[in-house]
């Protein structure tokens, strides 16, 4: 049987591989077919019926997203019958869609709204609900749900199950009563949800969103008695431009600094600084665990697993509570920053930490939950007051009337505005590992890590699980126990991938010493707080921007960051010192699933 089939779409002949869906074939010849339940990242579901097309020989209209081409057919994508059917589908969806576009956070970025316009829905033939049927669920510290806007496309379910391996949500009840729910109608705060926000970035409408703190931040900015400090994580700067019409993969780091200053933040700092600090702390912790094992012949919990991703932390607490000792005790860079700001920086700048409001710009929704964890008060205050997503900050910039793309550049503020390229690449999957390798290799051997232009390529890229082996040919005296050894590492992004690694670790057959896990696909650059939409292509472009920026920096290794060294000298002492432990390390809570 031939693998190639020639089909005719709207009069255009195109040859495709057998099994290609009609949607894919149409896209190849730039014919647009609308979709709602379909998402590039997710498995096919075929339930919304917006993608109906006419296929010769078929009695009924066919769902283009889910019909594979198996014979030479003629397909028509915009006949009268198709147009009517699509409009009907939309009118039916809108009939029980309760929500006002102008108060909706997806206004102008809503797939339903866009299709309603594209397909000429100008009257609601089946009427329209006038009262909300469900109360909004605002219980979670991170994810807010409004079922009145839900179109039951089930993208969130597939994201949560297949991508994240969590399964917090499913469709419950039936027919008109069908709704997306957690187990036993639990409110989101009680659900087994890791707050990753991946469902938000794949929801076509405004049924899912992050808990919005921008008004509280405005309030702090407007309060003259408050010193408002913002730290910006590496991933948002490679994506926020998308909210202002720039193509994905345009870095706007320094324009963003200007915008944040204009908004009224008193200090704009770089989370890359504490990413570097994380490498110092986590690297020392890893080398310590290896020393315990190899020199002191003590029990050491290996592999050690990174702890920068609060979504991953909660995943581990729920699904692998027995592996919590494997997690590095390091707080995430966000939380380290908060703790350092309200102690070291407050002293240095003569600010009363009680009057300091620490805001963070994060690609992440789980970071909101993290700021609320009871452990995160080691400065004596809530270490980070508000974590804002890239989307919320974009909204604030717009609200302030600032034209981001037109701004001049400005640098980060001193002294916590200096981050290395190693800190920057924390924003991409594999970045923490790469940063750790750049530093650990050099500390152990005295020589630069043996990769061309410091590109640790085996841990880069979008493969779900990546592995690398780093051979240590010779070591400095202090580290002589590592001479001739091979350091084995693995990287996973998306918690469904992490699950695969953790199952191996649980069985006790893992050979790795160090594992990086990021809860979100692509790492932070694909975070749940990033601009919508997302796709692998978009994530790759954002990664490219981050790696590109790294190469333009002269400072590309965490342990060479002079401000970090100064922080140790003036305040912390040494990595993993008593003070470091107090401020920069944390503990975890086994939660379980049942």
């Amino acid at each position: 049987m031939s693998m190639d089939i020639t089909v005719n779409i709207n009069g255009k002949e195109i040859t495709v591989k057998r099994g290609t869906t009609i949607l894919e074939a149409a896209r190849n010849v730039n014919i647009h077919i609308p979709t709602l339940c379909y998402h590039d990242d997710l498995c096919i579901s075929g339930i919304c019926r917006i993608c109906l097309v006419e296929v010769d020989g078929e009695r009924t209209l066919q769902a283009a997203c889910s019909i594979p081409i198996t014979r030479p057919v003629t397909i028509k994508t915009h006949t009268e019958r198709v147009r009517k059917a699509r409009r009907n589908v939309l009118e039916l969806m809108l009939a029980n869609h309760y929500g006002e576009c102008y108060t909706c956070f997806r206004n102008q970025n809503c797939e339903l709204q866009k299709l309603a316009k594209e397909y000429g829905v100008d009257a609601l033939k089946f009427e329209h609900v006038t009262e909300p049927r469900y109360e909004q669920d605002k219980t979670s510290a991170a994810v807010v749900r409004d079922k009145n806007k839900c179109i039951l496309c089930r993208r969130c379910i597939r994201t949560c199950q297949d991508f994240q391996g969590v399964g917090a949500l499913d469709a419950t009840h039936r027919g008109y009563d069908t709704q997306i729910q957690a187990f036993y109608d639990q409110p989101m705060a009680d659900a087994v949800c890791i707050n990753c926000g991946q469902c938000i970035t794949r929801c076509p409408v405004g049924a899912l969103r992050e808990k919005d703190f921008s008004d509280s931040v405005w309030q702090a900015i407007d309060d003259p008695s408050k010193i408002v400090v913002i730290q910006t994580a590496p991933a948002p700067r490679a994506a926020i431009g998308e909210e202002f019409g720039l193509p994905p993969g345009t870095s706007v780091t320094k324009k963003l600094n200007t915008a944040l200053k204009m908004i009224g933040f008193d200090y704009v700092f770089d989370t890359n600084f504490t990413a570097d600090l994380t490498i110092m702390e986590e690297g020392t912790e890893l080398l310590g665990r290896l020393k315990d094992l190899l020199v002191d012949r003590k029990e050491a919990v290996l592999p050690m697993v990174t702890s920068c991703s609060p979504g991953w932390i909660k995943f581990c607490e729920h699904f692998y509570p027995k592996l919590l000792p494997n997690l590095s005790t390091c707080k995430s860079p966000q939380q380290m920053f908060g703790a350092i700001l309200k102690t070291y920086f407050a002293q240095k700048a003569g600010i009363n930490p009680a009057n300091m409001v620490v805001v963070s710009l994060m690609p992440c929704v789980a970071k909101k939950f993290e700021t609320d964890r009871p452990e995160m008060t080691s400065s004596g205050f809530k270490d980070v007051d508000f974590a804002l997503t890239t989307r919320e900050v974009a909204q604030m910039i717009k609200e302030a009337g600032i034209q981001l793309t037109q701004l001049e550049d400005s640098p980060f503020d001193d002294p916590l505005g200096l981050g290395s390229g190693a800190g920057l690449i924390f924003g991409a999957t594999g970045g923490v590992m790469e940063a750790a390798i750049r530093t650990a290799y050099e500390i152990v051997t005295g020589e630069e890590a043996p990769f061309e232009n410091l590109r640790v390529t085996p841990v880069r890229g979008m493969e779900g699980i990546k592995e690398a082996e780093i051979f240590i040919p010779k070591a400095l005296e202090e580290w002589s126990f590592l001479e001739g050894k091979t350091l084995r590492v693995a990287v996973a992004h998306g918690t469904a991938n992490a699950r695969k690694l953790m199952d191996i670790v649980t069985q006790g057959i893992a050979q790795w010493h160090f594992i990086e896990v990021m809860a979100c696909p692509g790492g932070c650059l694909g975070g749940g707080g990033q601009p919508i939409p997302t796709s692998e292509e978009i994530r790759k472009l954002r990664a490219k921007a981050i790696y590109g920026e790294d190469e333009q920096l002269t400072l590309r290794k965490s342990h060479k960051n002079p401000q970090v060294l100064k922080l140790y000298e003036e305040f912390l002492g040494t990595p993993n010192s008593h003070k470091s432990h107090e401020l920069l390390h944390t503990t975890y809570t086994p939660r379980g699933v049942f």
């Binding site: 199950q161 969590v166 399964g167 917090a168 949500l169 499913d170 469709a171 419950t172 009840h173 039936r174 027919g175 729910q181 957690a182 187990f183 036993y184 087994v192 699933v593 049942f594």
Partner: protein, 158 residues
């Protein structure tokens, strides 16, 4: 019995049933049916135990349990009245029967009388379409209903 030992007992009973079906996930529906029969409804605890033993997420189990009108996920009255809400019965006068039942029991559909005796529910077609309106009280079928007849039947269960 103390809650904990009661729970242990239920956990044990769940394992027995799941074992009978060889821990096969595709037998979820049969397993839920059996448990629903033994306990009258599927409690949060029962569903969690099922999920644990079949290695499903609790949400998946809940999704299946709520899909079927004959599986209960909340405690129900001793007698469950299920009135057919599908089109043939609607045309045959289901709405009037529904109102009579509401008045007689003083509760709405989806509710249970305060004495725990009756739950009132709608169901989809139960195959009595040519003799509608039709209803079930537990496993007994009643058809050709009208408001008076429906009330009379319910009174027999009082």
């Amino acid at each position: 019995m103390k809650l904990e030992s009661r729970n242990n007992q239920i956990a044990q009973e769940v394992i027995e049933i799941v074992e009978k079906y060889n821990f096969q996930r595709e037998k979820l529906l049969q397993i839920l049916e059996e448990l629903n029969d033994s306990y009258g409804y599927l409690s949060e605890f029962v569903m969690k135990e099922v999920a644990k033993n079949l290695q499903l997420t609790t949400t998946e189990v809940y999704s299946v349990a709520t899909f079927y009108s004959f599986l209960n996920t909340r405690p129900k009255g001793k007698y469950i009245i299920r009135l057919c809400k599908t089109i043939s019965c609607v045309l045959a006068g289901k709405n009037a029967v529904a109102n009579a039942l509401r008045n007689e029991l003083g509760i709405d559909f989806g509710e249970t009388t305060s004495d725990g005796k009756f739950s009132l529910e709608f169901t989809n077609c139960i195959g009595m379409c040519n003799q509608g309106p039709a209803m079930l009280i537990n496993n007994d079928v009643y058809y050709h209903l009208d408001p008076e007849k429906a009330v009379e039947i319910v009174e027999k269960y009082q």
